[in-house]
Every structure is written in C-alpha cells, then in structure tokens.
Amino acid sequence: MDFTWKIGGAQGEGIDSAGEIFALTLHRMGYYIYAYRHFMSLIKGGHTNYKVRVSSKQFRHRGDKLDMLVAFDQRSIDENLHELKNGGAVLYNAGAFEPKFPGDVDVVPIGVPMQQIAKDHGSIVMTNMAAMGASAALVGLEPDAFDAFIAERYGKHGAEVVEANRKVVRAGYEAASQVTTWRATLPEIPEENKRKKRVFMHGNDAIALGAVVAGCRVVAAYPITPATDILYSLLKLLPKYGGVVLQAEDEMAACQMAVGCNYAGVRAMTSTSGPGFSLMTETLGLAGVSETPVVIVDVQRAGPSTGMPTKTEQGDAFQAIFSSHGEIQRIVLAPATVEDCFYDIQRAFNLADKYQCPVIVLTDLALGLSKQSVDVDDIDFERISIDRGELLTEEQVKEIAANGGYKRYAITESGISPRALPGQEGGVHIAISYEHTEEGHEDETPFHRVSQTEKRIRKMSTFDPEEFGVRLSGDRKPELLLIGWGSTIGQIDEVRQALAAEGRSVAHLHLSVLYPFPTRAVREAIESAGSVLVVENNAFGQLQQLIQLHVGHYDHMHSCRKFSGEPFNVSEILSRANEVLAESKSVKEVG
C-alpha cells in the first residue's frame, strides 16, 4: 500500500523545498519514500513539481499514479491531472486562480487560500508552507509534524523566520481542516520500520559517500546538471579528510586532472553528464594507453548535445563503451539503485586500480536526483575493502630497481604491470600516451606495439562481469524475461510482480555491468525464456544492440523503449509486456 502526493507550481515558488520537507518528514516517521523532481533548464517561470511516494516497504520508483495534487497554478493541474486517481484530491491555491477541470474527471477540488494565508501570517514567500500545513491536515498528520524540519532548515535565518513559517503551516492546517472532509489514509508504519535506521539520499549522494569510503581524495569536475549534486555532497565530505574538490575550467581538464592524481597515486575521479562526458573522450584514450586508473561518473541526461538537461535518459552506453579513437580497455558499470551507487563507485576504484584502466560509472538523472529511503544496514562501509591492485611499495620498488630496474610497462603473464609511483626512489619512470616499450619509451616498432597491445588486452581476461552486476529474479524458465539495466529496476520489478500475481511466469534480468559484457549469463537467461523484452530509456535500444553484438539475434527478443525524457511508468512496460505475451501465445497457437 502506498500513497502518492505531488506539489506543483512555477519554478522559483519554493516547490522543491516544500516537497523535500514533506518527504523527509515522512521518511523520519518511518515511511519509505521515493521523491521525484520535475524541473526545467531555466531559472524562473517554468512548471516544476515534486512528487513523493510514501510506502511502508521499500520500492524503487516514483509510481505511476497520484492520490493528491497540490497545485499553485492552473498549469500544475493541466500537466498533472492525468496522473490523479479517481476520487483523488486537488488542493489548490484558492484566490490565486480559479481552477478548471475537464468535465469528465472524478476529482475532489479543495480550495485553500494558501497565498493569502502566507501573507497574513508570515510573508508571501511562505505560500509553500501554507500548502504544507494544508497537506498535513488532509493526510492526517499533526500540525506540528514539520516543526523540527523547519527549525533545521530555517534556523540560520533566525527564530523569527522559524516562527513565521510554523505559523503559516498551522494556519494552512486549520484552513484545510475546515474546508473539506476529504482525507487520505497513509499506510500503516510497520513497527520494524521504526527500529530501523534509514537514510534519505539520492544516487548522487551515494556516489559521493561511496567515493569517500573508497579512499577517493580528489574530485575534479565542471558543474553540469544533473551531476553537480555529487560535488555538493563531496564538498561536505572531502575536506574532512584533507581531500580536494576542484572546479576545473572544463571537462577535458577535469578528466585529465583525475588521471594526473591517479598517476601520482591518489584515488581521484570526475563526475559529469553527457556533454561533459563527450569532452572526456580524448582522456579515455590517454588513461587506456598510459594504463592509468581513473573513475568517471556520468549521470546521464537526455541527449544528444545539450539536449534536455533536466530530463532523464539511458543514452550514453555507446559513448561509454565505444568512444575514443583506437582501441582501449575499459570497464563500464551501471548501478541500478542508490545502494548500488554506493558500492559500485567503490568497486570502480578497485577495478580501476586493479586493471589500470578507465572505469565509467553510468547513472542517470532519475537515479541521481531522486531521493529515497534506504536502510542504513544496506550502506555497509565494510562490504568492499580498498584494494589498490598491483601498486608497489617503496621497498618493492627498491628491490626491483636493484634487480635489473623498474619497467612501468613490464610484459607480464597477467597483463598487469606493477605500478611504481613518482617519488619512490628507484621507480623513476614515464607514463606515456604514445605506444611504448616496457620502459615507457615512445616506440613504433611492431614488436613493442604488438606485445604491449596484447598485454593490455590480456589484462582484462580475469575480469568476470558475472561476478557482480547481474541480477536474476523470478522464474527459471519463464514465459517472459524482462531485461533492463541501470535505474529502471524498480519499474521492471513491479511489472514482474504484477504479472506474477496474475499467474504469469516471468523473470527479470538486470544488468549493472555493460562492459565487458556478461555474455554467458544473458545468453542462458534469454535461451531459457519463452520471450524476451528489453526495457530501456532510449530510442536506439542500446542494450538490445549490445545483446545482439555479444550474445546473438533472437526472434523472441522484443523491445520496450521510452525516450520522452521521463522515467518509465509501470503501466507502459506492463502493456508492452502483455502485447509480447499475447503475440508469443498466438505464434504458439499457430505453430
């Protein structure tokens, strides 16, 4: 059982803060929250909204429908009414506008003069607080539910401001209580929820936290939506550990800087979104051939080019896997959940050090910016321990130096050449973007070219994508296999459960590693399924193409793509799944 609430208005009216107060308050009460921000790439005037899904159990997406809509203006009604359930309520800013509804909808309009209340009891900028008070009344919260949070957030502006905000909340509460009998019922809070410690964070926060736990100490980046929040989190976390957040002049510099730090032995990363990631194409090659570890986080947004900065998409898989001229070794991870973000970024650092190559972590706007309730037990600081790979100690370097000298690009059986660091006596060496000898000297002779290339290819052979990054749930030999990657896990999971509840045999294969590709696992799953539906948030079907490339072409493989900039709704995947099920059934009947 869940409850969904949304507040909408013009950008600049405090919609985000209102949403966040609502979400965090309910989170603290013991609910599991998923909060989704809808915003635009402009500063003032566009429509913005904040949706909060409230449940007694954990889940991974915003929900298709809406129980209650708080509308600051007509546009908020127009753009969101289609989500409202029958009998749902629209709490509107009475006096500010006269709401219009299509004739045939079953909706309960509730007018509360929120702006007037704000003016009367505080100031007009507190209209959002009147909305909070009114919402509290309608969902059965106490009028003081938000008090703690208000003190936290506005305390720095002085006691007066806090008091005014509280007053406005209460006035909103009173007004709403009187004007309607409509009431939403929030789900029960299971006792165990209250015992559990939980955090409220989004993917970007989890990336930042995981990076710090992984020992990352320098982050060089350039601001870009929706990745900048990673920097904000890191600015809070890193200086504590002497670390540095460096705002670079552009993304080329940012990525080169991350490479430079890693060369010097300090774990470093860069975070960006598509347009910045394209500018790092060159540096991928540098890290590849110089065999310098580097971690790049790409919080995907809708492309191409500047595209839609505030909309989500899974559009950068190809760029992550195939870009940069020539041929380099790399690893591409695609966390599916906030917890994945926390662990995968740590894995990324370990993998980068182990394989001495770039590791790209692909998240997206939906995962990066949607705050969720997560059990603290699932944010385990000790699950993944720091493994710096073949990094030589001062003593080892000295020994090597004494026995013939250190070779940065020594040909080894594993393909991995132990790394000395600058500053280590005896380990003087050159990291280089040219093809080179074992010593790191520029060289174009076929012998070195071939042996170094083979070495670089060989080093990836121990990487097993199936060790992690592959989740399979549901039936073993399903009628329908749903395959997804990254942030769509929540919707696909709900689809699987919905179909299973109808008695369908369904499975869900979810990938969090895209390169090297988990071929065997995908093949097994596909070949044991009646039909297959590949679900992804893009137009080209990038995962589907990867499956074709690595696994094969299948007549029973279908696709479900969404590229509007919005995350999937469960219903969209469900109806496509039903189509596929129907089709495959009719095929069977004929055949």
């Binding site: 032995g265 090659g285 990291a431």
Partner: protein, 290 residues
C-alpha cells in the same frame, strides 16, 4: 640530502632524436643543472609534457614523467602536485601545445596558481609535425599551412600571462643556458604557478627566428638595474614597448598559492594519508542523510 649530479638524470635519459642544434637541448641541460643545483633527485621530480618536439623534453630530462596528450600537460601537472605536494612538478611543451590547443588550460593555470613550473619551448612553429604556423608565428609568416603568410596576429605569451594574473613570468633564450638555468631555479623556487617562456630556435623549420636573430634583438631585463619586476602594469608596458623581445624575470609577486586556499589541506601529501578513516566515522557521515 645526499648530493645529486647531472649524471643521475642522464642515467634515466634516452638518446635524443632532436635535430642537431635544436634549441631544446639547452632547455634540458639548463633544467638538469637547475634541479641539481637545488639538490633535487630525479625521483623527486615529475616532468609533465604535451606532444611536440618540445614534448620529448621529459625523455631527455631523466626524471619521472607523464607524457600526456597534445595541449594537456597543465591539467595533469597541477593534479600531480595536488596529489603529492612533495614532488617538484615541471610542465613542459611547445608554443602550439601551450598557446594553441592548450591556451585555455594555461590561462586557468595562471589564475589557479598551483605551485608548479611551466616551461614553454617557444620556437614560433610546429616542429614535430614538420613546419606549420604556430600561434606565436608572426603575422605574415610563411609556412606549409600559410603559404600566403599567416593571417592571424600572434599570441604574446608574456602579456597574456601578465593579464591572466600569473605570479611569476619569465622569458629565457636557448642561446644562454646559464641565464636559463637561473630562471628555472627562480621559477621552481617561486611559490605558485611560474611561467618560463623559452625562445628556443627550431633550426629545421624556422629560418627566421634563429639564434642570431634572437641574439641581435633580445634585451635582458635582469641586467637592467632600473627594472623592477614587481609592477604588473609597468611590466606590461615594457614588454609591449620592446615587442616581447626581452629575457629575464619580467614579473614576480609573493603570495599564497592554490594549496594555501584549500580548506583543511594538509602539509603532508595526500598520497601518504590514511584512506580508512571514513569507516570509523560511519555514523557521523550517515547522520547527515537522516
């Protein structure tokens, strides 16, 4: 510190592929002597280079090195210093590398003021790619890519550095290794970002800016008693008046560097710090998200 000699550098250096007479030889020699004079051993130094003839500087220097891509020495160099402030970091490259494709990084390195030294081997030509116009080639200069003469006005490195807030601006000449060495020493000792633009003849592709030509035209400001390198506007004026045909320390200013400005940035290099501390702070770290 046990003594270090130029031999220690030469031990790691490769055989040169520069043309006989190339100005860049003097740059390497001057740098080796400067480092030795400052008591720095090869393993304490990192040279970060771009791509160009000049980009091969690090092969012959004999210290640690990162040979990055064309135009990208500076971001890498700054990062290395931030990661390990005990290292002496020298970025080096050509005029095309530094003032052409890489000029954005240069401007920002000047204002960021990380404590590294930047050596540009300025031969007014693209040497490695066998003779195209460079950003410092004079207007009208004929090369393979400008057979009718370069259409653009040249970049003027010294005014550019001055305008970008660079705290140490010097110019040297490959024909005077001793002076060059002194400039390198001063640059390395300078706290913050230091530019040494070296007029370094390309004997193969630039038949105009030759050793003789430079010798005839250059004025050494270090020898001018009345010249005070502490006044930015005055420096700009002199450089303008003398059409950049100067050597010496053009401008120098003592001030805090980037690292001084960082919150809680330790004197102990980042690289030597303990990575496991966040685990102990788990509760506190998570509390921020509750």
């Amino acid at each position: 510190m046990s003594t270090v000699t130029v031999k220690d550098y030469r031990a790691n250096a490769q055989a040169s592929t520069w043309c006989p007479g190339c100005g860049d030889f003097a740059v390497v020699a001057a740098m080796q002597r400067a480092l030795v004079n400052l008591g720095l051993k090869p393993h304490q130094v990192v040279a970060v280079t771009g791509i160009g003839c000049s980009g091969k500087f690090n092969y012959y220097l004999g210290a640690n090195a990162f040979n990055s891509m064309h135009g990208r020495s500076l971001p890498v160099a700054q990062a290395i210093k931030i990661a390990n402030r005990d290292l002496v970091v020298i970025a080096a490259g050509g005029d095309g590398d530094g003032y052409g494709i890489g000029v954005g990084h240069f401007i920002h390195a000047c204002r960021r003021n990380v404590d590294i030294t930047y050596v540009v081997m300025d031969n007014h030509i693209y040497g490695l790619t066998t003779g195209q116009t460079s950003p410092t080639s004079r207007k009208g200069f004929k090369t393979k890519t400008t057979p009718y003469g370069a259409a653009e006005h040249p970049i003027r490195p010294l005014p550019l550095a001055l305008a970008s807030g660079c705290g140490f601006v010097a110019q040297g000449f490959s024909g005077d290794v001793k002076h060059l060495q002194s400039l390198f020493e001063a640059a390395i000792q300078h706290k913050g970002f230091a530019l040494v633009n070296v007029l370094s003849p390309c004997v193969t592709f630039n038949k105009e800016q030759t050793y003789d030509w430079w010798r005839e035209n250059l004025v050494n400001l270090d020898e001018r008693e009345d010249y005070d390198p502490a006044d930015r506007s005055a420096a700009y004026k002199v450089v303008n008046e003398l059409n950049s045909l100067v050597t010496g320390i053009i401008y120098r200013e003592e001030r805090s560097d980037y690292q001084d400005e960082l919150p809680n940035y330790d004197p102990q290099p980042l690289i030597y710090q303990d990575l496991s501390r966040p685990i102990q702070d788990r509760d506190e770290l998570l509390a921020a998200f509750m």
